[in-house]
């Protein structure tokens, strides 16, 4: 008898990583906080007026870049329902869509910021994206980190180098140490040291910081997150009217049925310059997130197959217009 080649598989022993449809670019048309809402619809219209030419520009840039000119561009809008709850979807969303339409902008997807922290519904189950990303942080090691000790952590903070040593003298020690500067690990000549607060806790309640949730939001838009191998928070169309309560709204709503996929190879956010410090913090975080190897490979293979050259480092896939 010739040898029989046997194969045996066990599903629980394999890693199955779902893939996600990808656009070329995901453009964030705006991010609405309570203060913007309180400033009235004029503030929104002003935001869309500033965004409109940039969206046109990015469309034409990608049309040139993609073979055949078929650029897939999707647009999204984020509403803060995490740090403060204001208004209702029924009242707010039509106003946003109307203001966008005045400048010929279509919002393809609308997302809730609180979903970047955690989200639960019948369809997705419970997903704690913020925890998931926190567990994927790999601290930028200062030179001479040999693994002999666990990474130096200030709980709830993340930096891009070595912090200043403590300079306050302990009473028994007497002499104070002179101040020593913090240093950036990958400095070019001089340091730009950044230390970001990821969260704080009052009692048992943890509040994630705005930059941390914004980093989660970027990763979600880049299609780089998976929960138990599945794509978390896939966009869903709205059933019926805009609800009167944020909690009844899906995490990411697909408003435009013809929209290109929500997630994309790259992201562009058009923001007011007042968000610059937040985005520096976001990039400090993103620079220390270890995305799953398999997910990175999936995205790289897909982009290669359609001859789109993608930046290797994920922070380089995130771009901004500050205007």
């Amino acid at each position: 008898m010739t040898p029989v080649h046997a194969t045996f598989g066990e599903v629980a022993a394999e890693r199955r990583i779902a893939s996600v449809p990808l656009s070329h670019v995901s453009v964030e048309l705006g991010h609405l906080y309570m203060e913007d809402f309180e400033a009235g619809p004029a503030r929104l219209r002003e935001q869309f007026r500033r965004v409109a030419p940039w969206l046109a520009t990015i469309r034409s840039v990608w049309r040139e870049r993609v073979p055949g000119g078929r650029a897939r561009v999707s647009t999204c809008f984020l509403v803060d329902d995490y740090f403060s709850r204001f208004s209702t979807p029924a009242e707010l969303v039509p106003m946003i869509l109307e203001a966008a339409a005045e400048h010929d902008l279509t919002i393809d997807y609308l997302a809730r910021e609180s979903a970047c922290a955690q989200f639960e519904d019948g369809r997705s189950g419970a997903v704690e994206l913020a925890r998931l990303v926190e567990d994927r942080l790999v601290d930028d090691p200062p030179p001479e980190t040999d693994g002999s000790r666990p990474p130096v952590k200030e709980t709830g903070w993340l930096c891009n180098g070595s912090r200043s040593p403590l300079t306050t003298p302990l009473q028994a020690m007497g002499k104070a140490r002179p101040w020593e500067p913090p240093t950036q690990n990958a400095k070019r000549g001089h340091s730009i040291f950044v230390d970001v607060e990821l969260w704080d806790e009052r009692g048992a309640r943890r509040t994630w910081s705005c930059p941390f949730l914004a980093a989660v939001w970027q990763l979600l838009r880049l299609g780089l997150l998976r929960a138990e191998g599945r794509v978390p928070l896939p966009p869903v169309p709205l059933e019926g009217d805009w609800p009167g309560d944020w909690d009844r709204l899906p995490a990411v709503v697909r408003i435009n049925p013809q929209a290109a996929p929500f997630s994309a190879y790259t992201t562009l956010s058009v923001l007011s310059p007042r968000f610059l410090p937040v985005e520096l913090a976001v990039r400090t975080i993103l620079g220390q997130v270890a995305v799953d190897d398999e997910v990175l490979r999936q995205v790289a293979a897909r982009s290669e197959s359609e001859r789109v050259r993608l930046e290797e480092e994920l922070v380089d896939r995130v771009s901004y217009v500050f205007t």
Partner: protein
């Protein structure tokens, strides 16, 4: 260039073996990541991979200071609900620059340490697994990294920390390169072993599976030897010998499954170690010894019983 790693193996700090759901909880080191479990031919649970960032000197037999920057991959495993392992490895690759790059560059290649400046793979390999290689100050400490991961498992609140017997951890330090197939397994001290592996084709994580599988079996063999030694067969009363051997029967004997989790193309490495030194041969002889001792003891008990019954 070269792949190097370390596997620490020890008895799970629990009185009995733990169930599959308990394995999943103990090894659930990361939110949103599943613990992989295979049930045939033996229950084996594997944690998700985690990364540790390093920027330090690499081992070198020549003593030269070679700087490496990147990440170490670590994971934990529980075999048969009874044997715990921590395992770490790094792939070394030459850096295209001689300065450190932004951290995101290194996170785009998880598990790779980029070597800055001139270095020879053989020098690093010899520095890592060679006998009497100099221990450089501030050198990559895979022992500490791996030990911390095994500690994560061993200190899990789900375990009762009442192991049936004490057994030191074993440490297997390994290097793997592409080339003509060869394998060299060396016992150093009681706890330290080294493995040099040359495999055809590029490196894949299956090589790590092989090293972990070898480490489990080396640990089983070492532990069974220690249990038999501690029983002091011939120097102690038979009843005491039997009592000292029984933990081996309860906790070790059923775990021997050589090459169970090894990819087919790598099984020849196991087979060659089976020829020389013959792991399974030694294991069988020890198992026979344990069973014979217990059988002799049982017979003695039976005949003692018969004698008292006959009187």
């Amino acid at each position: 260039m070269l792949v190097m790693g370390e596997v620490h193996t020890g008895l799970l700090q629990n009185s009995g073996e733990i169930s599959e759901p308990a394995c999943r909880q103990v090894l659930g080191l990361m939110t949103g990541e599943t613990v992989r479990v295979s049930r045939r031919p033996i229950v084996h649970a594997l944690s998700p991979d985690r990364l540790t960032g390093v920027d330090c000197v690499l081992p070198a037999a020549s003593g030269s200071r070679i700087r490496g920057v990147g990440t170490v991959v670590s994971r934990c495993a529980v075999t048969g609900g009874r044997v715990a392992q921590g395992s770490s490895y790094v792939r070394l690759a030459r850096s295209e620059t001689d300065r450190r790059l932004p951290w995101s560059h290194y996170l785009a290649r998880p598990g790779v340490i980029e070597v800055l400046g001139k270095a020879r793979a053989a020098d690093i390999a010899e520095g890592f697994v060679g006998e009497g290689a100099p221990r450089l100050h501030g050198c990559l400490d895979l022992t500490a990294v791996t030990g911390r991961f095994l500690d994560l498992v061993q200190t899990s609140p789900l375990l009762n920390r009442r192991a049936p017997f004490r057994m030191p951890r074993t440490i297997l330090r390994w290097v793997a390169e592409t080339g003509e197939p060869s394998i060299a397994f060396t016992l150093h001290t009681e706890q330290e072993r080294t493995l040099r592996l040359t495999h055809p084709g590029p490196f894949t994580p299956a090589v790590v599976d092989l090293c972990e599988d070898l480490a489990v079996h080396d640990w089983l063999l070492t532990s069974l030897l220690v249990v038999v030694e501690r029983a002091r067969v011939g120097a102690t009363p038979a009843a005491e010998v039997a009592a000292r051997l029984s933990p081996a029967v309860d906790h070790l004997l059923h775990l021997w499954m050589p090459a169970a989790r090894v990819e087919e193309r790598l099984t020849p490495f196991w087979e060659s170690l089976e020829r020389r030194p013959g792991f399974s041969r030694q294991w069988r002889s020890l198992v026979d010894r344990v069973r014979d001792q217990l059988a002799v003891h049982t017979l003695a008990l039976l005949s003692a019983n018969a004698e008292t019954g006959g009187r």
